[in-house]
């Protein structure tokens, strides 16, 4: 009933990601980079501006172009502002009216009600008329409110369904215990995926305290976070669907959304049937991956930001059948590269050179950051660390981070690559 909302989250997902992550694109810039129509970009950018709190949106000018930038400061802002983009699903007038009238009616009766009770009660009060909203619509909404939303519970007595308000799981908690729970949610809402549901939980609890217990104004902003990215929230609709499939042991088909430069038609590419096994989350970059297996037990790793949607199939699998396979494929992966196509992991040997008196913490840090690293002290100030990894390419950014302390001893290929990078860096700074 309002044009401002969207039917599918995917409508804004790509543009939100480009805007939020990059922020350097004007409408035309994004059009040429991503090859989407400038009308669509401009339309969706306007939506995003409407959905996100103004304080997080920076608007810059680059010549005649307007640049939108969603940005935050991890010390000052501990609430993920992208969550509000999930509060935008479109609804019809019938959706709104049936939902609220049903809840109002059942709550007012304080006893279980069957469909005809509800229909008659609402018709008699003149709230809903049969010619506008059919009996089927009410029945569908009742079923949705039980099985999908969980606001109602349903009991069948002599083949008639009786609906009542879902049990109150907080009834045994006193007000102080509710405050404790609010603080716990305040802490973990940014840590447990999908974080969007943590934020929803927090709002429901605040509403519960306010309306059911008359307790308001409790603050729970006692925490801040480091290395907690906000942008992965954009992928949580897909994440939630995958989690359901993993949990129900149901196979899936993935539909990838590829940039147009790889695909002229910009169509969705579907995968073969896959067994979804595990979500890997790269904490450093804030990126989700799905590790799955195909019918030949080949390991397929997919970035969630490249998955448009998933189809959960009826066909099921036994999770235990893949435990060993996952360990073999991913135990030496630093982030997302599986062992697929290789016989065994690569061996990487690093030499760490430090001032033994003042820089011992460097060795400690390196060891803490390398999951299976083995340390060997050669002499004071000189250590060797051996690491097994599926693909040494995954280590390159990490090794670079220890510039000035680390030299690659094995493999020669990796050492050459890093040395070339160093030389290229110097030349980019104009140092020869």
């Amino acid at each position: 009933m309002f044009n401002d909302f969207i039917k599918h989250y995917n409508i804004i997902r790509d543009i939100l990601r480009d805007c939020f992550l990059y922020g350097c694109y004007s409408r035309d810039g994004l059009e040429s980079k991503r090859n989407v129509s400038s009308r669509k970009v401009s339309y969706e950018m306007r939506r995003i501006q409407q959905y996100v709190e103004e304080k997080y949106i920076k608007v810059d000018k680059d010549g005649r172009y307007k640049l939108l930038n969603l940005t935050y400061d991890f010390m000052r802002h501990s609430d993920n502002f992208l969550v509000s983009t999930y509060m935008t699903k479109s609804f019809t007038r019938a959706d709104l009216l049936t939902y609220f009238f049903i809840l109002l009616y059942i709550q007012s009766q304080n006893c279980p009600c069957c469909l005809s009770d509800i229909e008659d009660g609402l018709a008699q009060g003149g709230y809903l008329s049969y010619d506008k909203i059919s009996s089927k619509t009410i029945e569908r909404k009742l079923s949705e409110m039980c099985t999908s939303f969980g606001m109602l519970s349903c009991e069948v007595v002599k083949r008639t369904k009786f609906y009542s308000i879902a049990p109150d799981i907080l009834k045994t908690l006193d007000n102080n215990e509710l405050v404790e729970l609010l603080i716990a949610i305040g802490l973990f809402k940014n840590i447990i995926f999908p974080v969007v549901s943590g934020y929803f939980c927090e709002q429901t609890l605040k509403d519960y305290m306010h309306f059911e217990r008359n307790v308001s104004g409790i603050d729970n902003h006692y925490f801040n976070y480091r290395n907690v990215h906000f942008h992965p929230a954009i992928e949580e609709q897909v994440l939630w669907e995958i989690l359901k499939a993993i949990h129900l042991r149901q196979k899936v088909k993935l539909f990838y959304h590829l940039p147009k430069k790889w695909d002229n038609a910009c169509e969705q590419h579907s995968s073969n049937v896959l067994i979804p096994y595990k979500i890997r989350y790269d904490v450093r970059h804030g990126r989700f991956y799905l590790v799955s297996f195909n019918s030949n037990k080949n390991c397929i790793v997919s970035r969630l930001d490249r998955i448009e949607c998933i189809e959960i199939l009826e066909d099921t699998f036994q999770r235990e059948d893949y435990d060993e396979l996952y360990d073999k494929q991913m135990c030496c992966s630093w982030s997302s590269v599986s062992l697929e196509g290789r016989n065994e992991p690569e061996k990487v040997k690093l030499e760490v050179v430090i001032d033994e008196k003042t820089e011992g913490y460097i060795v400690e840090k390196i060891l803490n950051e390398s999951p299976n690293g083995i340390l060997n002290k050669i002499e004071d100030g000189r250590y060797h660390i051996t690491i097994e990894v599926n693909d040494s390419g995954e280590l390159i950014p990490w090794i670079r981070g220890y510039a000035g302390y680390v030299r690659v001893l094995e493999s020669k290929k990796l050492a050459d690559k890093i040395l070339d990078d160093w030389k290229e860096m110097l030349s980019s700074y104009g140092v020869v």
Binding site: D60, T71, F100, I165, L181, I183, P194, G198, N224, R280
Partner: protein, 350 residues
């Protein structure tokens, strides 16, 4: 249930709040205020060009109005009120009559998340045993798809285990209480070099969680020396909340932290978008206030505002991004990077 659901739409939530707020009757102006606070800054307009407030307050055509509220003597009430006909005892009736017009319940997905919360390491530092047990009992039948076994975090830091877990948890609870009560603490601390600091006075400001190492640390304002500090919770000992009055409250301490530790000059980077350098760059620095613009020729400029205590991390992150990310200014940081890269090359020449 879908994560993206209409019942979580901001206007659905707003409607819910308005109905419950109207339990005791609200004037038009009071409702308008609730709508003003709850709706988008750019208001939604229906297909009939009417505002959300028009629908709620029944100001449209008769068959367009929501009719979820009804007006009596200038006050608006929920159109269906709690019927005074509870079948139970007197106390049941009173309880029933005190209920809000719309019940507040967690959705299925929220219950699944709460169940996952109870499994989380560290939750028992915040919830008392009684609260934890009650929730565990209420959520016993919930089958949640949010399980640790379905996730693996990578690029993490594995720190040595904390030896005295009980002391650590007691410290955590005490510090959290001090923050909630906005009271200073006195404590002893031992730093990594074994230096002991006794009976220090500080105002705890917040507890910080790092997702990379899974550790909690405490951000405090050291009242003895008028400066912000960050401390490991497990190295503190003999912590006690004290009644000593300080000149600084939590909000001021936060402000001072932001002001004293924020760099005046941003770091300006030039990124050449090769090998996904730009994506990696933006992802690494996503939590920093920044602006960005295109320089043409596949090059982009990013300006990062940063905290001084993050400088070393920032330098390491910039170097780790490789040759396609270059510091334009400040020159001091560019020089530091050049020096480290030169030293790296020299290691290969031995």
């Amino acid at each position: 249930m879908e994560l993206f659901s209409e019942i979580k739409n901001r206007y659905f939530q707003l409607m819910f709040r308005i109905i419950n707020e109207c339990a005791g009757g609200k004037t038009k102006n009071e409702i308008m205020r609730i709508i003003d606070e709850g709706e988008f800054e750019q208001k939604v307009i229906g297909k009939n060009q009417k505002s959300f407030a028009d629908f709620v307050l029944n100001k449209c055509e008769p068959d367009e109005n929501f009719n979820l509220l009804t007006e009596k003597n200038g006050m608006y009430y929920p159109s269906i009120e709690i019927a005074d006909k509870s079948k139970g005892t007197e106390s049941d009736t009173a309880k029933h009559n005190n209920q809000p017009p719309l019940p507040v319940r967690f959705s299925i997905i929220e219950k699944a998340w709460l169940k996952a919360l109870l499994d989380k390491e560290g939750v028992k530092m915040v919830l008392s045993k009684e609260t934890y047990d009650k929730l565990q009992k209420e959520l016993a039948d919930i089958d949640t798809p949010i399980k640790d076994e379905y996730f693996e975090l990578t690029n993490t830091i594995k720190l040595p285990a904390i030896t005295d877990q009980d002391a650590y948890e007691a410290n955590f609870r005490l510090l959290l209480n001090a923050i909630i009560q906005e009271k200073p603490i006195r404590y002893n601390n031992t730093d990594r070099n074994g230096n002991i600091y006794s009976n220090r006075l500080a105002l705890p400001v917040s507890i910080e969680y790092s997702m990379r190492d899974g550790r909690f640390r405490v951000s405090m304002y050291l009242l003895d020396e008028n400066r912000p500090i960050m401390a490991n919770i497990f190295t503190l000992s003999d912590i006690r909340i004290v009644d000593e009055e300080g000149d600084i409250d939590r909000e001021t301490a936060k402000r001072l932290l932001f002001e004293q530790k924020h760099s005046e000059e941003p770091i300006v980077l030039e990124v050449t978008d090769k090998k996904a350098a730009m994506e990696r760059c933006f992802m690494c620095f996503s939590g920093m206030e920044r602006t960005a613009r295109s320089l043409g020729n596949n090059k982009y400029e990013i300006r990062l505002n940063y905290y001084l205590f993050e400088e070393e991390n920032l330098i390491r992150n910039i170097i780790s991004l490789g040759p396609y990310v270059k510091v334009i200014s400040p020159q001091r940081i560019a020089d530091e990077i050049i020096a480290r890269v030169k030293k790296s090359i020299s290691l290969y020449n031995i």
